[in-house]
Subunit: 300 residues, 2 copies
C-alpha cells in the first residue's frame, strides 16, 4: 500500500567529534521516505528552494519515492540545519537554523495523494499537520510526530491533532514534557489517553516503547558500535515502522510489533554513517538478516 | 549450588519526591542475597554494629540465607547511607554516609564458605575483593561489581581484580568512566579485554547488556509504572542473575541469558516499594509469571 509523508526536506551540516559534512541531504520527510521505501511505495510532500540539487530528487525517485508533491519555490532557499553532536553522540546543539521556504510551508496534496491509506505527519506545526489531515479524509492509519517546540507553543492545536490521529511517535523527553510525568510507562499511557489509539516513545540508543489500550512493551535498540551520525534516526525509525505496516496492510498486534522492530533496525543502519550514506548500501536482505539476529538476541 | 556474597550491610534512609523511610534494611550484600535466595542457598559475609536489629538477621535466615559470616562488632555502629532521589527516580544525591564498622571491613570467610562454587564480590574496595578471592581459590565462577570511586582511586587494584574474576557487573556510567568510551557496545568489550570472561552493563530503567567473546546482546527492563525506590536495584539484578546461575549450575549461553532476564525481573519487583518491602511479598511463582510475560513481550 502506498504511504504518504508530509514533512521537512533539508540540507544539513553536521559536526561530530571526529568528522563534519556540509549541505548533505536531510530532513524528516527524506529520512522517513528512504526508510519506508524498503517496504512500500512512498509519496512525499515537502518544499525546497531553487538551490535544491536535482540529484537528490533523482536519488529519492530511484527508491520508488514519488516526488510529485515536492514543491520547488523559485527564488527561494531550502531549509538548512547545522548541528554539532557531543562526544556521547546522543546530545547535540543546534548551531544554526534557516527555515527559508519551509517557514511558509503550506502543503497542498496532489489529487492522486489524497486517498493514501497510510499517512505520516512528520514533525511540524500541528496546524500544518491538521491541514494535511483535512485533505486526506479517507486515511485508514494516520500517525504524527511532534517535538518540544510545539508542546510548548501550540498546545491547543496539538491537543486537537492528538484527538484526530491514530498514532503518535515522540521521544522520551517529549513524552515527559507533554505529560509532566517522569515515568515513561505512565507517560506513554497518558499521551494515549489524549487521543491516539497507540503511542510510540523513542528512546534513542535504548530502543522504543509501545502503548495501546491492550499492550505495553519495550524493544531494545540493536547494539551497534558504529554510531557516526544519529541525525534522522527517529524519522528513519518511523519510516521503517510505517513502511512495514503499509507493506503488511493489517493491524494485527503481531504486525505492529514487527513494525516496531523493523523501525529499530532501519534506524540502527541509519546511524552508521552521515546522512543517507549508509542507507544507500543497505538492501532489504540486510534488514531481514539483521532481523534474524535481533530475534535471536531476544530469544532464550 | 550455594552462592557466596561478600559486601555491605547497611541501614538506609531514603527520600523520594513523595515519601521517606528511616533506617531500613539495605546494603549491597543484603539486596543481592534476598534476590538470589529465590534460586539458591546464599552464604553472606558482611559486618554490622551492635545497633543491628536482630529481626533483620531473622528475616535473612528465613530466606535460606546463611548469616554465619555476618560479623557483629561490639561497640560499633552499622554502616548508614542517606540519599534523596530526584523526580526522575533515576538520579540521586547522597546526603550522608557513615561507614562505621564497614570502613574497617576485613572479611574473614568461615571455613565452610571457602568452597562455594559461586562467588559474588559486591561493590567494595578492590583490595578487599582481592582478599576475598584469595580465600576462595576453588570458586568456579566469581563475579565482581565496582563503582566510580574505585575506578578513580584504586585503579591498580581494580586492574588486578579484573584479571582474576570471571565476570564484572557495572553500570553504564561506570563502564564509560573505566574505558573513556561513550559507546556502550565498545565500552563493554573493552572492559572484557581487561580480563573478565564476560561483562554485564546495567542501564537501570533501560535494561542490561551482556558481552562475551562470542556474544553481544541487550535485554530491556520490564516496563513498570511502579517505581517507588530504586535503591538496591543493581544488587538485586546481580542477585537474581547469579542466583539463577547457581541454581542451574551450568555455563551454557542460554543459561546466562535466562539469568540476565531473571536479574532484570527481580529488580523490576525490587523497585516497587521501599527497601525489601515489595520483595517480602514476591514469590518464585510471581517471578516465573513475570518471566512468561517478559518472554511474550520479546516475541514477535
Amino acid at each position: 500500500m502506498p504511504l504518504l509523508v508530509v514533512g521537512s526536506v533539508a540540507l544539513d551540516s553536521i559536526e561530530t567529534p571526529s568528522e563534519k559534512r556540509e549541505n548533505i541531504l536531510g530532513g524528516s520527510a527524506v529520512h522517513f521516505s528512504y526508510a519506508a521505501s524498503y517496504f512500500a511505495p512512498v509519496r512525499l510532500v515537502g518544499v525546497v528552494g531553487e538551490d535544491w540539487p536535482q540529484e537528490h530528487t533523482q536519488l529519492l525517485q530511484s527508491r520508488n519515492i514519488d516526488t510529485a508533491g515536492l514543491q520547488i519555490v523559485e527564488g527561494g532557499q531550502t531549509f538548512t540545519w547545522r548541528g554539532r553532536y557531543l562526544p556521547n553522540m546522543n546530545d547535540r546543539e543546534t548551531l544554526d537554523v534557516q527555515l527559508n521556504v519551509f517557514g511558509e510551508f503550506d502543503p497542498v496534496l496532489p489529487e492522486q495523494y489524497k486517498h493514501c491509506k497510510y499517512v505520516f505527519l512528520a514533525n511540524g506545526s500541528p496546524r500544518v499537520q491538521l491541514n494535511v489531515l483535512d485533505q486526506v479524509g479517507g486515511a485508514h492509519l494516520s500517525v504524527a510526530d511532534t517535538m518540544d517546540l510545539w508542546i510548548k507553543t501550540e498546545r491547543d492545536a496539538l491537543n486537537e491533532l492528538l484527538k484526530r490521529v491514530d498514532g503518535l511517535v515522540l521521544n522520551d523527553s517529549e513524552a515527559k514534557l507533554l505529560t509532566g510525568d517522569e515515568n515513561l510507562v505512565r507517560a506513554g499511557h497518558q499521551v494515549r489517553e489524549m487521543g491516539p489509539k497507540f503511542v510510540v516513545i523513542k528512546k534513542g540508543e535504548h530502543g522504543a516503547m509501545f502503548f495501546s489500550q491492550f499492550e505495553t512493551y519495550v524493544l531494545p535498540a540493536y547494539p551497534t558500535d558504529r554510531v557516526f551520525d544519529p541525525t534522522g534516526a527517529g524519522d528513519s525509525f518511523a519510516g521503517g515502522m510505517m513502511g512495514y505496516m503499509a507493506e503488511k496492510d493489517d493491524f494485527e498486534p503481531k504486525t505492529l510489533k514487527e513494525a516496531m522492530a523493523y523501525g529499530i533496525l532501519v534506524a540502527s543502519f541509519q546511524v552508521e554513517d552521515f546522512g543517507l550514506d549508509r542507507m544507500k548500501q543497505v538492501t532489504r536482505e540486510d534488514l531481514d538478516q539483521r532481523m534474524e539476529e535481533y530475534k535471536q538476541m531476544l530469544t532464550f
